[in-house]
Amino acid sequence: MSAGAARRERLWRRLAGPQNRNLWFWVFVGPFALGLIVFTYVPLGWSVYLSFFDAHNTVSPSDFVGFDNYTSMLRNDAFTDSLWTFVVFTAFIVPTTFVLSLSLALMVNRMRRAQAFLRSVFFLPAACSYVVAALIWKMSIFNGVRFGLANTVLGWFGADQTAWLSTTDPPWYWLVIVTVRLWLQAGFYMILFLAGLQRISPTLYEAAAVDGARPGWQVLRHITLPQLRTTSVAVTLLLVINAFQAFDEFYNLLSDARGYPPYARPPLVYLYYTALGQGQNLGLGSAGAVLLALVIAVVTIGQARWFGLGRKAD
């Protein structure tokens, strides 16, 4: 064996690691990492790159504009309005879903019979697609004509027909958007809460009863809720992330062939129309996406701090 071959052999040994561990690491992690790079990090970087160019109808632009896209996006009241829409929506949907799914879980948990049945019934909507649910809400439950379900029920009491999705004063469209999301989500989070509830040791409740805690609010406040803390944190985080991603039901409820109305337009919908609609202003759209990503990053970090995520459990 020549000296060169021996050196190559040694190098290979070192690279592969003891018992080929490095090799196996890359065999298993490599494909995933590659996918992540190709489908997430490259587009992400590209989007940041595009945001500094006048990129109409092109992904390989040549017209560098610096921060112009950012300033025009921040001055654009349609974009800032969409951020507000999003804040209002999150501020409402997160606590509402939280309370609703927790109450469902508490009720189902107390059932002695038919618990499995009720659990499935409440969970089933989670298996329905947002698009399908949005279309059912739009076309049959909350359509604006007299034979829509909501209008038929109101008609029994002599009320006039309401165009739910077209009325901005009062903003009835929120009722439609919020109910469809509640219906779809509540069951899923109920299951998470149920799992949390069933992990609470019955001895705690027995001890509380012995100590004279009144069943009901006192037990809930001092035993159940503190014991559910980890579940609650997880549920809140998931709810906020889901609210960030709001697109499907908004788009399917409110868009039509000619575009999207200027109300209830969350940032993702607005950016979709700016960058990918007929406008194809990919530079401006990318700048908006980067701004949105910054907002999400700040909120997520703040949230993690608030809940003490990542800190070692004491």
Binding site: N57, A78, R258, G259, P261, Q278, G279, Q280
Partner: protein, 421 residues
Amino acid sequence: MTISRRTLLGTGTGTALGLLTACGSNTGRDGGDSDGKGPKLSQWYHQYGEAGTEKAVKRYADAYDKADVSVQWRPGNYDEQTAAALLTKSGPDVFEVNGPTLDQIQGGQVVDLTDLFDGVKDDFNAAVLAPKTYDGRIWAVPQVVDMQLLYYRKSLLADAGRTPPKSLDELVDTARELTTKKVKGLFLGNDGGAGALGGTPLYAAGLSLVTDDGEVGFDDPAAARALSHLRALYEDKSLLLGAPSDWSDPSAFVQGLTAMQWSGLWALPAVQKALGDDFGVAAFPAAASGAEPAVPVGAYGSAVSARSAHKQEAKDFVKWLWIERTHYQRDFALSYGFHIPARLSLAKKADVLTKGPAADAVRFATDNGYAEPLRWTPASRVAYQDALSRIIKSGANPESELRSVVRKVSAELDRVRKKSS
């Protein structure tokens, strides 16, 4: 490539060997001339609602013998699909487009088709050819002319003692009178008219979206006055909103949910079938004294992608189908849906367009038709449509809303002007 039974039959005159090599050499769209039919071209259409259209366009493509044209029938958001596909080589060679947009032309995404029009340019409807023209060059061949107009139920108007509205004021009054507990007066789309009407009320007030010399065309108090009438319609609760199918579909009108509806000429056969003689058509009534009524006209055009590997062949095909084969153009316009042929010579010969409401519609298109100018870019349209929606639904002040639209639109016009210089 998926070989349909049709393409198999179509190439049946070639030998089996030819077919085999055609399959074997299938590398997508840049196949060779192995089966004697020339290069492979892909042609995109958006999904037409009328039965038979898809078969017809496939039949046309099969009849072309200088290239192997495969038709893609694309449901869904067609504008978004083509816009994205034009960024790559795997997009269509020939495609129909509700445009092309100014940015697509300026960005060099579509091929100049001016030379296809040699000797026939004057035979094309000038109103719809104008938005396909930029810098004196033509970028798409208009396929058919579409227009929108107002449908009304004659019997319901007669019961209320009204005549078809001649002015926007009258339209507001008529719609209010026709509204009952069961039937609404007017349907302008589920968004209250912001999307379907667009610039029509401005043209009916004697204004325009963009003037011929590229300035904002509605910086005028008459614009706010015209748009405030749409608010009145909404406030009177005369508008049908939230119907299961939107304005482009005549269902709400034929089902009796509304006494009048804004829709397209394409809906006329369905309305006629359902209501017989009990309907009439009108243009959008004049919105200012001394102004004329208005109807929007437009045309899907056939364009060639600049990234096509076979630009010349694609141009030849477009010329063959949309310039030379007039009997196909006639068939496409009149046999399935209901459109006005883009060629004046064909429109004159179309019998179905010479009587009844169809004849009225053609007259409106000729006398009162306006096409959205090329400089009216998607960004301007969104700004205007948002403002219109706020005026109609939320009662926003038309003057201040329009002021901010004028500001945005003139910035957008500056941008496209700078790009062209």
